[in-house]
Symmetry: C2
Subunit: 419 residues, 2 copies
């Protein structure tokens, strides 16, 4: 099945990347996929739909690396030139792949859409290429393996690239891989990145396999523990030995979950275990908390729903917040946050409810309550817990909303007992 | 102020990019910024925190291009080597910039955090470099302009890179730019990308300046019209002449806005103009619609709030959906969608309400109602309008939710009259 891949690069093709019209999530997805397979990746390159520039980038990449993973430029239009460029690099002619041609014809027959001739361009493949069926589109993925160089071409749309990678390319590559990398993530709450780094520096420096490194995303700190090993069992064992040392050490009390994916995932798991239900009341986060929770498939056994109460009238009518509280303390206050959480718990009949009210900006700030002031609340049968966040008013609206959502999920986890 | 930049490349530095731990939004942001300035961009490269590989990438980029924009690797740790590598490329020594050293000292004085010596590493700059203050962090941006080559170094965190680009780098570059590129976006609803392309092919091929090209994102089709011109007025005139031809042509009836940014932006604008208010009731989209609407600063004059009613009990208690309707037709039905929309309009006292109920998957599908079945509804004083979406069950949960949210916003726009 070919020799193990010693080094790889990614080339993404598409003028829309260079215009900034789309974010290159394919590079991120493929990078993570290669890391999971233990294939060392040294470079991402993005070029436009220009065969000369793609051709140079391809030759340069193969001058450094064994394998090049390309995304984009496999479609039916005259702009799509990845296959032609790769075939020319290897000195291979393009031939019609009858299986793919038939698949494309039946795809169009199924949709009652008219198939134009240029659709069959997608069935042309470099001679000798391995063809991987695309279940979500017409352009297949292709691999050319010649003279010790491997080129893997993937369709550009993430909705096609991601499943074809998982279902077809990973099995194809696994056979060549020289051991694997196993990773586990340790999630922390209530501690900042620099404090984590400070307390773990000794362990971080001393650990070579597995390695341990902190990451921050949307206000959450996690530690990524990665081991290189011959198989998954050995990798898991190495990782969990180190994770046990972390849990036994100074940051142990801040660990709320392993591989939980996010605070919302962790909270749903804990509540599910305890047979408890959840709802939320959102002002400044405006639906973001409910969105994050319902991003998780199968959340409906725990999450009943929530209220987005942007106006004072909605806070009163949906959540039963008292007009006197709003009048006296304002919509952005500890008292309103507590009444919102209690109101959601009552209105939706759940065991726990989360609430946020604050000023996400850019407008609406005052000297007493500047942009970035957010109250987060958790209501349980034992009462309400409220915390005030004072986020930097220099931060943008999206950041303030995201941090507020993460913090209230973490607060609930701490109160209910995450680990 | 130096000669105009004929060609540029972007190099992003960071091992976390190659591990797939973060998405390279900096490349997208800088690409858009360069396009706005009319600076032709030919390549993105991402390399790890490795001075040898960065050095090669830099030399290669300057062998092709006049200007290289780098992000990342300016921080205080020993991994941060961008400045050192760029200085070595130009043969320049590093010197302490006293202004920056002072700025870093006072930054730490303000936060009451301890400043370690390595923080002052951030005040070391290549001799003769232009220093751009960073208002959101300690590492300044830097530009080195030597031998006809321009290197611009930017801090990696988007929350620092984006404002420093807008406030400091754009004015610096504008003086060198040879004309500008002006872009406007035409938003369409109720028509697919291929139909748009079909009807506009003649115009697309015939148009060289401005150019016109369709883009699809989250189920929305937009046309990007871009003109190269000496100044903004001329660019605007060229763009709007072409936009007028589009509006007068076959796709004209599907145009709902120019430069509206998104369906939620467009809907908020239309409702604001008419003095109307909005609410929503969400089942399968689970807060996403409210989140999209409240992503828009200043939405509170139009948007009162919404209900996320994941459970049947919540549909009944918050929205007054009739138990008989749920029993007879099910939660995913035309009837429930209509009652949810009407219920939100009543509960929140708004002029218009949106609702969604459907099966986002991966579980929960049945032969009669497979994953991807979504009912979207708009309630107005004149009654409810419901549409059924049958999205491919092969699509993932996030996609189905996003399309459902976009479609109900577009439905409201069509009913209320977007243009």
């Amino acid at each position: 099945m070919g020799k193990p891949i010693g080094s790889a690069e990614i080339i993404c093709v598409g003028t829309e990347l260079l215009l900034g019209d789309i974010v290159n999530t394919n590079a991120t997805f493929l990078s993570r996929g290669l890391a999971d397979l233990g294939i060392p990746l040294y470079r991402h390159t993005a070029v436009g739909d220009n065969p000369g520039r793609l051709s140079s980038a391809l030759a340069e990449a193969f001058s450094r690396s064994d394998a090049v993973f390309l995304s984009g430029g496999l479609g039916p239009t005259c702009d799509d030139l990845t296959k032609e460029t790769v075939a020319a690099f290897f000195g291979l002619p393009l031939r019609t792949d009858e299986h793919t041609a038939e698949r494309i014809r039946s795809h169009f027959a199924g949709t009652h859409r008219l198939m134009t001739d240029n659709n069959l361009k997608q069935a042309m493949v470099p001679e000798g290429a391995t063809v991987f069926d695309n279940d979500y589109g017409t352009a297949p993925a292709l691999a050319v393996d010649k003279d010790g160089k491997l080129a893997v071409m993937l369709p550009g749309p993430p909705s096609e690239l991601e499943p074809i990678w998982r279902d077809r390319i990973v099995p194809f590559l696994s056979a060549r891989s020289d051991g694997i990398i196993v990773s586990h993530n340790v999630y922390l709450a209530g501690i900042g990145e620099s404090a984590v780094e400070d307390r773990l520096r000794g362990l971080m420096v001393a650990s070579e396999n597995p390695t341990i490194a902190p990451y921050v995303q949307a206000g959450e700190v996690r530690l990524r523990v990665s081991a290189r090993a011959a198989d998954r069992e050995t990798g898991d064992r190495l990782c969990f030995e180190l994770i046990d040392r972390v849990k036994a050490g100074e940051v142990g009390p801040y660990v709320y979950g392993i591989d939980v994916g996010s605070a919302e995932n962790a909270l749903l798991s804990v509540l599910r275990e305890r047979g408890m239900t959840l709802s939320c009341a959102e002002s400044c986060t405006g639906g973001l908390i409910a969105k994050l929770i319902t991003d998780v498939p199968g959340c409906s056994d725990v999450f009943a729903g929530g209220c987005v109460t942007y106006s004072n009238a909605a806070k009163i009518s949906l959540l039963g917040v008292s007009p006197a509280t709003l009048e006296r303390f304002g919509a952005v206050s500890e008292q309103t946050a507590a009444e919102m959480a209690r109101g959601a718990r009552t209105a939706l009949g759940t065991d726990v409810a989360l609430a946020t009210t604050g000023i996400a900006g850019p407008g609406g700030g005052t000297p007493e309550k500047p942009v970035g002031t957010v109250y987060i609340a958790v209501s349980r049968s034992s009462g309400e817990t409220v915390e005030k966040l004072s986020l930097s008013p220099k931060r943008d609206r999206a950041f303030i909303r995201r941090i507020a959502a993460t913090r209230v999920l973490e607060l609930a986890l701490r109160l209910i007992g995450g680990k």
